[in-house]
């Protein structure tokens, strides 16, 4: 019996940690994970050429962050290049191809540089776990604060003296949006227009029908009255609605009669989106949506700001959340991926439901035309609706998709009609899933979904998919950016027991759980230990008889869920133990993703 044979097999041991210093060739679904060479692809080389091969993964995630610490470190010099693997990009390029640093050496540099400045904001527990870098006090920075240099512009900070460079040209000394600000005045007419249109469509038509002779006059009067009333309300609302950045908080005030004042702690900020529906976009406006991790009502919407204001607010918010002053000029981003229309079209066509629906439509059209039979319309309409949903919708939604990586997060921009700018700061992604439907496997394409705290319900649908269509290789590359400090490449995938075998595999590393499943539609799920909310082992009567358990990992709500069926009991407990210690280690290394730039520790950790 297959299960009996397996029970004593190495399947019980494979979750043991890799020996320190072992050479793991990071083979991840056939991709070389840590390879800095040509395998990474031309457009991602910038991220790979960090001074330490694991540096970009373990310290900053978005790989500019280590550089920032170097720049701002009072001790100067080579403090940032803490890994012994090599101090120069050239050295690392050769050394890092297959070398893994042992966890210990990753945690601590060999010889900590002397501490020059007293710790201003050292987190209290066990200083052993923090790097000795002390962030300079935020207030006394004569050198204007700035984000790390973009990853693409060369990583020469390891050898260069750590003197903060001159501020970037664009808006260098520009103050952040501190004082109370109002929304753009065009908001008022826009709102009035919107409400009036709806009113006219509902009531106006009725009035017109009601009195053929009096109708137009009455309608006009009612409409004018309505416009006046709405205008007054909207004007009052606009007048009282202000936002203000003070310290670490975003202050929102609103309401003339019913006064509401909201104070939003920016340390809880999860994502910042800028949304521009078509009309709003034409007027040069934008809506800013701030996502906080707090359930259904926690979203903050500021509608509408001018495009410039929106951009400024966005970068100021993220800078604040990262622990930098609000006036910090936005970092330059490095283009990561542009989804061309041909690729999007191909991917959308190469979906089985779309193909089937299209074929059905064709057949029906031919039949309907040949026999002049109007009854086919009954089937045509649902098929057409399905096509709109599966093909046209994504096409409009994801047209012009481009992704970029900046020190302040992953930036996504997409939408043909409704333009959307999404910024996901590092460490806010809890779980990642790479989905490869059947036909996309042939094309080498994949989709990347993610769980982000606070994106619940309707909003989850809005932003569950981070990359709709992306080359498979790039999708796996990006998991690296989205889950900083996580090394899924080291996972040795263990097949499930019994019949499931290779169709459901689970691997555990020191930092992450990796599960792969499916044959026709392949999915790979990665959850960092530090994002695990709870783990459940369950075994029903049959499973117990076979000596198996299934393992479910819960993270924040979202589309991604890690479920590994048919594991051994002992293996399940071992996974529990490893995740438990991983969570603990994550705790010691960081204090959550807040103020990730100025933190003294080296491991960004998400909740």
């Amino acid at each position: 019996m297959a299960t009996e044979r397996r029970r004593g097999s190495p399947a019980d041991v494979e979750h043991s940690p890799a020996p320190p210093g072992a050479t793991v060739s990071g083979s991840w679904f056939g991709l070389r994970w840590n390879n800095t060479g040509a395998g990474a692809g031309a457009d991602t080389n910038g991220a790979r050429q960090s001074p330490s091969p694991r540096g970009s993964a373990t310290t900053g995630g978005f790989s500019g962050l280590p550089a920032l610490r170097e720049v701002r470190s009072p001790t100067g010099g080579s403090t940032g290049t803490s890994s012994p693997a090599g101090d120069t990009p050239a050295a690392s390029a050769s050394a890092s191809a297959h070398t893994e640093l042992s966890p210990d050496s990753r945690e601590h540099p060999a010889a900590p540089p002397p501490r020059l400045a007293p710790a201003t904001r050292t987190p209290e527990p066990s200083p052993d776990h923090y790097s000795p870098h002390t962030p300079p006090p935020l207030s006394s920075s004569r050198s204007s604060p700035q984000w790390a240099r973009p990853p693409a512009s060369g990583r020469d900070t390891g050898s260069a003296p750590a003197v903060p460079g001159p501020p970037a040209e664009r808006g260098g000394g520009e103050p952040g949006p501190e004082g109370p600000h109002q929304l753009h005045w065009l908001t008022v007419p826009l709102r009035v227009l919107l409400v009036t249109t709806v009113m006219f469509a509902v009531v106006g038509v009725l009035l017109l029908e009601l009195e053929p002779d009096l109708g137009p006059v009455l309608t006009m009067a009612v409409t004018l009255l309505f416009i006046g009333a709405t205008g007054a309300v909207c004007l009052a609302d606009w007048w009282t609605h202000t936002y203000e950045l003070s310290g670490d908080h975003l202050l929102l005030r609103r309401g003339l009669v019913h006064h509401v004042e909201r104070e939003v702690p920016l340390s809880r900020l999860q994502t910042v989106d800028t949304v521009c529906p078509l009309l709003v976009r034409v007027l040069g406006l934008a809506e800013v949506r701030i996502e906080l991790a707090g359930g259904d009502r926690s979203e903050v919407r500021l509608a509408y700001l001018s495009r410039y204001e929106a951009d400024r607010l966005r970068s100021a918010l993220i800078a604040h959340a990262a622990g930098l002053p609000g006036g910090t000029p936005p970092p330059e981003d490095r283009p990561l991926f542009v989804l061309g229309t041909p690729m999007l079209l191909t991917a959308l066509v190469a979906q089985l439901p779309v193909l089937v629906a299209f074929g059905g439509l064709l057949v029906l059209a031919v039949v309907g035309l040949a026999f002049r039979e109007p009854a086919v319309l009954g089937a045509v309409i649902p098929l057409a609706l399905g096509l709109i949903r599966g093909f046209l919708g994504p096409l409009l939604r994801y047209g012009g998709f481009r992704a970029a990586v900046a020190p302040d997060g992953l930036r996504l921009r997409f939408g043909l009609v409704q333009r959307r700018d999404q910024t996901v700061p590092p460490g806010r992604v809890h779980a990642v899933r790479v989905v490869e439907p059947l036909l996309w496997q042939l094309l080498g394409l994949a989709r990347l979904d993610a769980n982000i705290a606070g994106h619940v319900g309707e909003r989850q649908m809005d932003s569950a998919t981070l990359l709709p269509v992306v080359p498979r290789r790039l999708a796996f590359e990006l998991t690296h950016h989205l889950l900083p400090g996580v090394d899924p490449g080291r996972a040795q995938l263990v097949p499930a027991r019994g019949l499931r075998g290779r169709t459901a595999e689970l691997g555990v590393t020191e930092t992450a759980l990796v599960a792969r499943s499916g044959v026709l539609c392949r999915t790979a799920v990665i959850v960092a230990h530090s994002a695990v909310q709870s783990i459940r082992l369950a075994s029903g009567p049959v499973e117990r008889w076979l000596g198996r358990v299934s393992l479910v990992v819960e993270t924040v709500p979202g589309p991604v869920r890690l479920h590994a069926p048919a594991r051994g009991v002992r293996e399940g407990w071992r996974v529990l133990a490893r995740v438990s210690s991983g969570v603990d280690r994550g705790r010691m290394r960081g204090h959550g993703p807040e103020r990730w730039v100025t933190r003294t520790d080296r491991w960004p950790v998400r909740n």
Binding site: L537, A538, S539, A577
Partner: protein, 208 residues
């Protein structure tokens, strides 16, 4: 009261029914399985817990939990049985009444056994970094919640629980789907567990 039950895995250190109040403060016997390795939460016939979990100090819950389960099931049974009786009297021959009575009685017996098993199965352990709960009769489950992930700890007491003098400690995390609770604690015990968990969640917290 239910008699104390010892199942095949040996002493689980159940809370004594008669002990009042400070049952939590009395040190419970540590899980000492005869086989020489640790209990695994009933997930398999052979013990398999490993690593740090081999040293877990499992604690059982009060036998009153069995009563609670039984009363809850019995209420449903009475409702269903009553409807059946009415139907049988109005439309069916008298023999049906007997059959129905037998079925309901049988169900009650099964419920009794189930309740006892459920109360016996439910146990929890406070590890170094996580709370571990094992429960389930047919589908055995083990849930591990790291202390740092605990957002809210509730103590809830339903009317039946109030009558029996037990309470439920419910643990909430940022994942909404989770259902981790420790049932059948005495109220003092529940409050103490809540305080401990809340303190640890503060100590271990990583922020959101």
């Amino acid at each position: 009261m239910f008699p104390r039950i010892r199942d095949e895995r040996g002493s689980l250190g159940h809370v004594d029914d008669d002990s009042a109040g400070d049952a939590a403060s009395t040190a419970r016997p540590r899980m000492e399985p005869n086989t020489g390795s640790a209990w695994d939460g009933g997930l398999s016939s052979s013990p398999a817990a490993d690593g740090e979990f081999a040293q877990l100090e499992w604690r059982g819950v009060s036998q009153k939990l069995a009563w609670h389960r039984f009363v809850t099931i019995l209420a449903t049974l009475v409702a269903v049985g009553g409807v059946g009786v009415v139907v049988a009297i109005v439309w069916l021959p008298p023999a049906a009444l007997l059959v129905w009575g037998g079925v309901v009685l049988g169900a009650a017996v099964v419920a009794l056994a189930y309740s006892r098993a459920a109360a016996n199965r439910w146990c929890w352990a406070e590890g170094a970094t996580d709370l571990v709960i094992a429960y389930g009769v047919l589908v055995r489950q083990v849930v591990m919640v790291p202390y740092g992930r605990i957002q809210v700890v509730d103590v809830t007491v339903s009317p039946v629980e109030q009558w029996l003098g037990i309470a439920t400690v419910r643990v909430h995390t940022a994942a909404t789907t989770i259902d981790a609770c420790v049932c059948g604690l005495t109220e003092t015990e529940a409050t103490q567990l809540r305080t401990r968990l809340a303190n640890r969640s503060e100590t271990f917290t990583t922020g959101l």
